[in-house]
Amino acid sequence: VIGMQSELEEAARSLVAESIVEPAPFTAVEARAKAIRSRGRRLRNAGIGSASLILIAVVALIVHSGGTAQHTVVVRGAGSSNVVPVQCCEGENGFALNGIVPTVRPHCVADVKNVTLALTQSRLSFTFSCSEVLHNPRRVEVAAVSKVATRRNAARRAAKIVAYEKQLGVYGDVVKGHREYPDDVRSDTFTIGVAGSDYLCAQAGNLQFRANEIRDAAHGGESAVHWLKIEAARIAGLCPEKLATLYDTVQRAGATEAVASVRPLLASAGGMFACPTEPFVEPTGALGPTTTVPNVLNGGDPWAPIQEVAANYARRHYGWKIPEIGPVYAVASQPVEIQGVTLHGAALAQNVTLCGEQAVRSSFIADIWAPHAPGPVRSAAELVVGLFPSGWKVWGEYPQSS
């Protein structure tokens, strides 16, 4: 065995000397580090920080407040292309799904076979056949939605917003004389895919912006509670890690009662999962890992009882025969910086936070996946496991693919 030790040491030295993975140039590491630092600043400042973020916010405000954006339609006729600037995009959605066909239809004339709509702000272009533009506009919209559905996870986030709105009872409500955005998953998918979510998420902590919104809502006869239900549903679907910021801002804007009313509704009925009704037991000593166990960035903790409960849950509820599970990590140990890397853990932690301090102290997140799951079934999930008087139980879940 001592010989083996020497052989391993020697073999490892040779292997490392081979340098099988080429190191990235130092400038690339510097650029990546800069992005990480910037991400941290952006989170710390809750949307008001670096120059780039201010720029995003300004653009977002222009769009949000009904500014006009300059896009183009490229008309491809026989042997030539004609670029036509388009003045468009009234309203907060930038270029709305139902604006596509009216925008391109006038250019489908004579021998023009295709038109390309170039949305310059979002660097997207869509090419449609004039035949479909003229005779089957719905297919044009379906193609446009398909193109952006996975961009920025748009389809899933849109579905979540609508689900939250339905659960809060505000889906499809007419507010101030018009139907509130989003009016359906398709158009919302398009909006998020094209415009992203910064125009809403970056405003979660903007006190002046929120105060104006609440005042305008009141002028239109809308209650602060109704207004907050819609805003909270959007934030919960788009950037749930900003929900606490939104509540705090709305409280500072004076709508304390609205927060008191909406927060528990979203936590219990409209959150990703409901808060448990039985009390938590705080895991201490031998009962379980404490909140000082490593967080998600540092690997979590392979704490077997929690892993076992999570694996049993996946077997029973997802039908995974041989689930695989990684280390677990304490919700209370989630560092702020993970919220910038869009881990689902951040969204889960946010939902747990809505259920109170005791839930945070007693809950852990377990990553679980089914490497051998056949076909397009749920293949990965993050589970929230809490300690109750009857033992460890899964009380929240976030299946990541379906």
Partner: protein, 156 residues
């Protein structure tokens, strides 16, 4: 505080090779290593002052790789398989590294982190999130297994 750039040049091969051996994918190793060193640089005032910046960056690289590997079905399959078949880069001492790749997960991780990443048993325990005694036991069992396997292969 150590100077970052020479440290990066010196440590990169150790970290990237370790991640490669643990996860069996060159792409995962490259990306996780780059991310880990970038995170180290982003907070170098703290990481550079640590007793073992190498241990820190290895831990982060392994964790980034773990998460990355889980994220897609394809990568999940990769994570669940023994990586011997997916070691696509020709390695020196192929017989030895194939035997290492065939070890049970915990033993394989302990061997790679001990000999390739050059971490202490305490640091390995932190990366693997197991008690130090478990690391020592895994290393001991791994060495015995390797000795037997290689002796058989070599017809000793």
């Amino acid at each position: 505080v150590v100077d970052f750039e020479p440290w990066y040049v010196r440590e990169h091969a150790r970290v990237s090779t370790s991640v490669y051996l643990l996860f069996g994918s060159l792409d995962v190793a490259r990306d996780a290593t780059d991310e880990a060193f970038a995170r180290a640089l982003a907070r170098w005032d703290r990481v550079g002052a640590m007793a073992s910046p190498g241990g820190w960056v290895t831990t982060v690289a392994v964790n980034v790789a773990r998460r990355s590997v889980r994220r897609s079905k394809q990568e999940a399959r990769l994570a669940s398989s023994q990586p011997d078949a997916s070691l696509t880069v020709p390695l020196p001492n192929p017989e030895l590294w194939a035997a290492v790749a065939a070890l049970p997960d915990r033993q394989r991780s302990a061997v790679v982190l001990r000999y390739v990443a050059d971490l202490s048993e305490t640091e390995i325990a932190k990366v693997m999130r197991v008690p130090r005694g478990t690391v020592a036991a895994a290393l001991s069992r791994a060495r015995t297994t390797l000795e037997t396997t290689l002796a058989d292969d070599r017809g000793v």
